[in-house]
Subunit: 226 residues, 2 copies
Amino acid sequence: MRIVAATKILKANDQIAAENRALLASAGVCCVNVVGSPGSGKTTLIEALLKHFAGRISAAVIEGDIAGSIDAERIAALGVPAVQINTDGACHLDAAMIAAALRELDLNGLQLLLIENVGNLVCPASFDLGEHLRIVVLSVSEGDDKAVKYPAVFQSAHALCVTKTDLLPYTNFSLPRITADIHRLNPRARCFEAAALRGEGVAAITEWLTEHLNAAKAGAKASAEK
Amino acid sequence: MRIVAATKILKANDQIAAENRALLASAGVCCVNVVGSPGSGKTTLIEALLKHFAGRISAAVIEGDIAGSIDAERIAALGVPAVQINTDGACHLDAAMIAAALRELDLNGLQLLLIENVGNLVCPASFDLGEHLRIVVLSVSEGDDKAVKYPAVFQSAHALCVTKTDLLPYTNFSLPRITADIHRLNPRARCFEAAALRGEGVAAITEWLTEHLNAAKAGAKASAEK
């Protein structure tokens, strides 16, 4: 019974996710779902990306949290449009929440939409939001065994970003180990390293994102000309 | 429909949890549910507690992970009985999983049963396992805003253990802030600080646990004499 119910919910979610993705693609927006544990550094990475893109790329952010609006306030402080979703206890965002948030945003001229999921290395893996890219954020202080212990989210990602690399000297985290584990689980995933508070490693991620932003823009233009 | 289903599942869980708690209490076992984010340091704290209690307290551990048996192997290496539960994707332990694990353990003479939940600051809050105490583990590298962002798990806990305090000089984590947030959410929660890899701060937790171990033993004896 539980399995049937969960399958039904996921089917409905996938349909709304497909609608979100189509809406965003037609507007030329590249949408990125940022997932990771509580405190892995998702908001700080998003802030660093926004600072790097400031004045060059039009961006917006959807913040998912169980409670509060701390993160959306951090984003708004950068002058970037931010929509806060409070899940009211739910441990992940779903596509219907994103559909509601999209109605609050002006997609016209928008190039990059970053979604910060609820801090959770488990449940967000199962919920397609309609994103084009999924980035898993893993801080070195969480330990290098996390891909083995939480494989689904790493398998579902387009990229891994290892964060807080400035703490490497004070931990026993092994970059070769996590990279090997990721490539075994998900051979095509890109691996990045960053100390986002210092801005280190952010440029490589923005280069990779820029390729996808250009592809999204070209795709929307080609569709419009058909 | 989803809400009704969830309520039914939780009701069944609560009944099994009550049975687990009664079984453990009659055997004089104090059961502790250790929850926290992936990589917050739950296993390392459990190892430090076991080392401190070695030769004095009879302990066992139930390890909850989505996949793998890394943590149970770490515990077994200390010569402590360990049962690994693989949740096969589920983001939390439930009381039925614990009931199954209890059948694998010899409760006779056991004093302390530590349960390490799946790394998740959200879903485990809603699932009573039949424990007597719940400890939330929060590492300083996760940030001091976590009580505000994930209130339910902090509200449900008997104690907070702030871990990895050796990283305090390299982070902007504020102990006064998290302590104030916890006491606002949960005035009766005990607050501990530890650098468990170094064994720092562990003695205070074992003192607190010892009071509960003695109470569990006395309770079982009183029941048996009735």
